[in-house]
Subunit: 218 residues, 2 copies
């Protein structure tokens, strides 16, 4: 569909401008200029400025959730998907999840991957949700909460197993998640640190932040 690819070009231009100047600080005409068309011509493809923001935010939320799902599924975590891996040789009644350290590492690497893959979209998702309409904001709020809850559950699990240091799971999850999201403020594609190296560094920092000092898992 031609329409779909043009729509994608518009959202790409919009997300990079929203990233630079914010949603409220970007005019519809600036988005149009980046595409070399007239401001009014944009409305042949989108119904409103809010429509563009909403598409970008939803698509990015999808990407974050899919990446987290895939990362946990690759570990053989039966909680991460509706149907568990039939090749798994673990007894589902005894220990259904891999160790919390591995799960935390997987979640952090997945999150960093999504951010570095498209810094503009990730930045809009992280910063511009305040500009969403009330109902859209509420919907994204629920999805964010569920996403953060998953990280919190890993930390709580690690604490209960004694792998992680005693801390406040809510504060620890917020600390780590905001650090990961903070990447949108300083990561630059083509910079000194490549996405893979950043994922390694951030996974190590996040894991150490919650892990017991006397653990020598890595």
């Amino acid at each position: 569909m031609v329409e779909t690819s043009r729509r994608r070009e518009i959202e790409d231009a919009a997300s990079s401008l929203f990233h630079e100047h914010g949603y409220a600080g970007t005019s519809v005409r600036e988005i149009a200029r980046a595409l070399d068309i007239q401001g009014a011509s944009l409305y042949a493809h989108v119904t409103s400025k809010q429509d563009m923001l909403w598409s970008i935010v939803v698509r990015t939320a999808d990407r974050f959730e899919a990446a987290a799902d895939a990362a946990l599924a690759a570990l053989g975590d039966s909680d991460s998907d509706a149907d568990s891996d039939p090749d798994s040789d673990s007894d589902p009644d005894v220990k259904r999840s891999p160790d919390p350290g591995s799960r935390l590492t997987a979640l952090v690497r997945a999150h960093v991957g999504v951010v570095t893959e498209d810094i503009g979209q990730a930045s809009v998702f992280v910063h511009e949700w305040r500009s969403l309409s009330a109902s859209h904001r509420a919907e994204i709020g629920r999805r964010r909460d569920a996403y953060e809850h998953r990280l919190r559950a890993v930390i709580r699990d690690g604490m209960e197993r004694g792998d992680f240091a005693a801390t406040d799971p809510t504060a620890a999850a917020a600390f780590i998640l905001t650090a990961l999201n903070g990447l949108v403020g300083w990561y630059r594609p083509g910079g000194r640190l490549k996405p893979g190296a950043l994922a390694d560094l951030y996974a190590a920092l996040a894991l150490r932040a919650v892990r017991h000092l006397d653990e020598v898992t890595q």
Copy 2:
């Protein structure tokens, strides 16, 4: 001076609205309405909307820097101020600074204190610098760099002394600093976690993030 306190009221109203809706998303008339005056009446006290933003940002930058200075000075760090503490009994030629772990803890606690003390101002400082005019943005950029450099220096020092794990000091400082700044997105005065408890939790998380696993300093 009456004028100064009225000016402060205006900046308080502005920072809380900038915090909620962003600089570009807040109109001068909305700020005026919060003060129960007409939009045009604001210009008896400020010269422009940008002028309000700049005052808030400068004042908050001052607070962050002063808090960090005081925190390090209280440890007896001779680098933290122009004139060193005459009561200090440490030999300035051998080891002029306290251990990196204490310095990191002090900086984190100071930062969290500034954020929790006025979440609106801190939020504007963290999020709205993109809305500053070019020259103002450049000036704040330099001050932010210097502030972050100080944190980086502590981390590098800790690595060289062997107290901290091998990591990338730039990435580690950014990780920690963005986690601290992320507080403006979820800290709420009067919430479950009080400023003191938050400072303790965040200091522990930041310290563990960079510290060697086999260290048992705390």
